[in-house]
Protein backbone atom coordinates (compact mmCIF):
# COMPACT_ATOMS: atom_id res chain seq x y z
CA UNK A 1 0.00 0.00 0.00
CA UNK A 2 1.10 3.51 -0.80
CA UNK A 3 2.07 5.50 2.26
CA UNK A 4 2.82 9.18 2.77
CA UNK A 5 3.34 10.30 6.35
CA UNK A 6 3.66 13.76 7.85
CA UNK A 7 5.52 14.51 11.06
CA UNK A 8 2.63 16.11 12.94
CA UNK A 9 -1.16 16.23 12.64
CA UNK A 10 -1.45 19.41 14.72
CA UNK A 11 1.13 22.08 15.46
CA UNK A 12 0.98 25.36 17.38
CA UNK A 13 3.79 27.88 16.95
CA UNK A 14 4.51 31.49 17.84
CA UNK A 15 5.03 34.30 15.36
CA UNK A 16 8.69 34.49 14.34
CA UNK A 17 9.50 30.86 15.13
CA UNK A 18 11.22 28.65 12.58
CA UNK A 19 8.94 25.75 11.68
CA UNK A 20 9.81 22.45 10.04
CA UNK A 21 7.15 20.24 8.47
CA UNK A 22 8.39 16.87 7.34
CA UNK A 23 6.97 14.44 4.83
CA UNK A 24 8.13 10.89 4.15
CA UNK A 25 7.00 8.53 1.41
CA UNK A 26 7.86 4.86 1.15
CA UNK A 27 7.10 4.36 -2.56
CA UNK A 28 10.43 5.47 -4.10
CA UNK A 29 8.60 8.28 -5.90
CA UNK A 30 10.65 10.91 -7.70
CA UNK A 31 8.15 13.74 -7.32
CA UNK A 32 7.03 15.30 -4.04
CA UNK A 33 4.80 18.29 -3.39
CA UNK A 34 3.77 20.68 -0.62
CA UNK A 35 0.35 22.33 -0.70
CA UNK A 36 -1.55 24.53 1.67
CA UNK A 37 -5.32 24.37 1.95
CA UNK A 38 -7.45 27.28 3.07
CA UNK A 39 -11.25 27.58 3.22
CA UNK A 40 -12.68 28.71 -0.09
CA UNK A 41 -9.29 28.60 -1.85
CA UNK A 42 -8.85 24.87 -2.39
CA UNK A 43 -5.30 23.53 -2.48
CA UNK A 44 -2.47 25.74 -3.64
CA UNK A 45 0.98 24.46 -4.54
CA UNK A 46 3.85 25.90 -2.51
CA UNK A 47 6.86 23.95 -3.83
CA UNK A 48 7.58 20.68 -5.53
CA UNK A 49 10.64 18.54 -6.07
CA UNK A 50 11.30 16.17 -8.96
CA UNK A 51 14.53 14.71 -7.61
CA UNK A 52 16.91 14.82 -4.68
CA UNK A 53 18.21 18.36 -4.11
CA UNK A 54 15.96 19.66 -6.91
CA UNK A 55 13.07 22.02 -6.26
CA UNK A 56 10.67 24.22 -8.16
CA UNK A 57 8.45 27.03 -6.95
CA UNK A 58 4.74 26.54 -7.07
CA UNK A 59 2.05 29.20 -7.02
CA UNK A 60 2.70 30.60 -3.53
CA UNK A 61 6.35 30.06 -2.48
CA UNK A 62 6.78 33.35 -0.61
CA UNK A 63 7.65 32.85 3.04
CA UNK A 64 8.56 29.18 2.55
CA UNK A 65 11.60 27.12 1.63
CA UNK A 66 12.06 23.38 1.11
CA UNK A 67 14.73 20.74 1.45
CA UNK A 68 15.08 17.36 -0.21
CA UNK A 69 18.30 15.68 0.88
CA UNK A 70 16.95 12.13 0.48
CA UNK A 71 14.52 10.75 -2.05
CA UNK A 72 11.96 9.68 0.52
CA UNK A 73 11.88 12.91 2.56
CA UNK A 74 10.68 16.40 1.62
CA UNK A 75 10.70 19.15 4.24
CA UNK A 76 8.82 22.43 4.24
CA UNK A 77 10.41 25.24 6.22
CA UNK A 78 8.83 28.42 7.49
CA UNK A 79 11.84 30.60 8.28
CA UNK A 80 9.85 33.04 10.42
CA UNK A 81 6.27 31.95 10.96
CA UNK A 82 3.53 34.54 10.58
CA UNK A 83 -0.16 34.39 11.47
CA UNK A 84 -1.14 34.32 7.78
CA UNK A 85 0.64 30.99 7.49
CA UNK A 86 -1.96 29.38 9.74
CA UNK A 87 -3.34 26.70 7.46
CA UNK A 88 -3.63 23.02 6.64
CA UNK A 89 -0.44 21.74 4.96
CA UNK A 90 -0.61 18.70 2.73
CA UNK A 91 2.25 16.70 1.29
CA UNK A 92 1.94 14.47 -1.78
CA UNK A 93 4.13 12.25 -3.88
CA UNK A 94 3.93 10.85 -7.37
CA UNK A 95 5.81 8.33 -9.45
CA UNK A 96 7.38 9.80 -12.59
CA UNK A 97 5.60 7.31 -14.82
CA UNK A 98 2.16 7.75 -13.29
CA UNK A 99 -0.26 10.61 -12.95
CA UNK A 100 -1.84 9.91 -9.59
CA UNK A 101 -0.72 11.93 -6.59
CA UNK A 102 -0.82 10.30 -3.14
CA UNK A 103 -1.44 12.56 -0.19
CA UNK A 104 -0.38 12.49 3.43
CA UNK A 105 -2.88 13.05 6.25
CA UNK A 106 -2.08 16.77 6.55
CA UNK A 107 -0.70 19.04 9.28
CA UNK A 108 -2.93 21.71 10.80
CA UNK A 109 -0.61 24.57 11.74
CA UNK A 110 -1.73 27.40 14.00
CA UNK A 111 0.58 30.41 14.30
CA UNK A 112 -0.21 32.63 17.28
Amino acid sequence: DVKVTQSSRYLVKRTGEKVFLECVQDMDHENMFWYRQDPGLGLRLIYFSYDVKMKEKGDIPEGYSVSREKKERFSLILESASTNQTSMYLCASRDQSQETQYFGPGTRLLVL
Partner: protein, 110 residues
Protein backbone atom coordinates in the same frame (compact mmCIF):
# COMPACT_ATOMS: atom_id res chain seq x y z
CA UNK B 1 -2.70 30.40 -15.33
CA UNK B 2 -5.53 27.99 -15.81
CA UNK B 3 -8.81 28.55 -13.95
CA UNK B 4 -10.72 25.62 -12.43
CA UNK B 5 -14.26 26.12 -11.22
CA UNK B 6 -16.38 23.55 -9.46
CA UNK B 7 -20.10 23.52 -8.90
CA UNK B 8 -22.07 23.41 -6.78
CA UNK B 9 -19.94 24.64 -3.87
CA UNK B 10 -22.17 22.85 -1.36
CA UNK B 11 -24.54 19.92 -1.69
CA UNK B 12 -26.76 18.14 0.80
CA UNK B 13 -28.24 14.78 -0.12
CA UNK B 14 -30.41 12.20 1.50
CA UNK B 15 -28.81 8.78 1.65
CA UNK B 16 -29.61 6.84 -1.52
CA UNK B 17 -29.86 9.89 -3.78
CA UNK B 18 -27.77 10.46 -6.89
CA UNK B 19 -25.71 13.55 -7.67
CA UNK B 20 -23.56 15.16 -10.34
CA UNK B 21 -20.59 17.38 -9.60
CA UNK B 22 -19.14 19.58 -12.28
CA UNK B 23 -15.64 20.89 -13.01
CA UNK B 24 -15.01 23.54 -15.66
CA UNK B 25 -11.53 24.52 -16.75
CA UNK B 26 -10.34 27.40 -18.85
CA UNK B 27 -7.66 25.82 -21.06
CA UNK B 28 -6.64 22.55 -22.64
CA UNK B 29 -5.42 20.02 -20.10
CA UNK B 30 -3.28 16.90 -20.25
CA UNK B 31 -4.14 15.68 -16.77
CA UNK B 32 -7.39 15.80 -14.82
CA UNK B 33 -7.98 14.08 -11.51
CA UNK B 34 -10.84 13.86 -9.05
CA UNK B 35 -10.10 13.60 -5.34
CA UNK B 36 -12.21 13.01 -2.25
CA UNK B 37 -11.20 14.59 1.04
CA UNK B 38 -12.82 12.86 4.01
CA UNK B 39 -13.92 14.76 7.13
CA UNK B 40 -10.55 14.02 8.76
CA UNK B 41 -8.66 15.73 5.95
CA UNK B 42 -7.28 12.74 4.06
CA UNK B 43 -7.29 13.20 0.27
CA UNK B 44 -7.82 10.13 -1.86
CA UNK B 45 -7.50 9.96 -5.62
CA UNK B 46 -10.74 8.80 -7.25
CA UNK B 47 -10.02 9.07 -10.95
CA UNK B 48 -7.33 10.05 -13.39
CA UNK B 49 -9.45 11.09 -16.37
CA UNK B 50 -8.07 13.64 -18.87
CA UNK B 51 -10.70 12.41 -21.34
CA UNK B 52 -13.40 9.79 -21.70
CA UNK B 53 -15.42 7.93 -19.10
CA UNK B 54 -14.45 5.72 -16.18
CA UNK B 55 -16.43 3.90 -13.54
CA UNK B 56 -15.49 2.57 -10.13
CA UNK B 57 -18.38 1.09 -8.19
CA UNK B 58 -20.98 3.74 -7.45
CA UNK B 59 -18.74 6.50 -8.80
CA UNK B 60 -18.16 7.40 -12.41
CA UNK B 61 -16.54 10.31 -14.19
CA UNK B 62 -16.68 11.78 -17.65
CA UNK B 63 -14.37 14.39 -19.14
CA UNK B 64 -15.21 16.18 -22.38
CA UNK B 65 -11.85 17.75 -23.06
CA UNK B 66 -12.96 19.63 -26.18
CA UNK B 67 -15.63 21.42 -24.16
CA UNK B 68 -13.40 21.83 -21.10
CA UNK B 69 -15.47 20.18 -18.42
CA UNK B 70 -15.61 17.05 -16.33
CA UNK B 71 -18.46 15.48 -14.38
CA UNK B 72 -18.34 13.23 -11.35
CA UNK B 73 -21.42 11.08 -10.76
CA UNK B 74 -22.25 9.60 -7.39
CA UNK B 75 -25.05 7.07 -7.37
CA UNK B 76 -26.92 5.67 -4.36
CA UNK B 77 -25.02 7.99 -2.05
CA UNK B 78 -23.94 6.84 1.40
CA UNK B 79 -23.00 8.79 4.50
CA UNK B 80 -19.37 7.77 3.94
CA UNK B 81 -19.44 9.77 0.68
CA UNK B 82 -19.54 12.97 2.74
CA UNK B 83 -16.56 15.28 2.46
CA UNK B 84 -15.11 17.59 -0.15
CA UNK B 85 -14.61 16.62 -3.78
CA UNK B 86 -11.81 18.33 -5.69
CA UNK B 87 -11.08 18.47 -9.36
CA UNK B 88 -7.44 19.15 -10.27
CA UNK B 89 -5.87 19.74 -13.68
CA UNK B 90 -2.50 20.11 -15.24
CA UNK B 91 -2.11 21.85 -18.56
CA UNK B 92 0.52 21.75 -21.27
CA UNK B 93 3.84 23.25 -20.17
CA UNK B 94 2.80 23.09 -16.52
CA UNK B 95 4.93 20.04 -15.89
CA UNK B 96 4.20 18.49 -12.54
CA UNK B 97 1.92 21.22 -11.29
CA UNK B 98 -1.73 20.45 -10.56
CA UNK B 99 -4.18 23.33 -10.19
CA UNK B 100 -7.09 22.56 -7.90
CA UNK B 101 -10.64 23.83 -8.04
CA UNK B 102 -12.33 25.21 -4.96
CA UNK B 103 -14.12 21.95 -4.23
CA UNK B 104 -17.69 20.76 -3.70
CA UNK B 105 -18.60 20.09 -0.08
CA UNK B 106 -21.02 17.14 0.09
CA UNK B 107 -23.04 16.11 3.09
CA UNK B 108 -25.05 12.91 2.89
CA UNK B 109 -27.71 12.62 5.58
CA UNK B 110 -28.92 9.23 6.88
Amino acid sequence: GIQVEQSPPDLILQEGANSTLRCNFSDSVNNLQWFHQNPWGQLINLFYIPSGTKQNGRLSATTVATERYSLLYISSSQTTDSGVYFCAVSYNNAGNMLTFGGGTRLMVKP
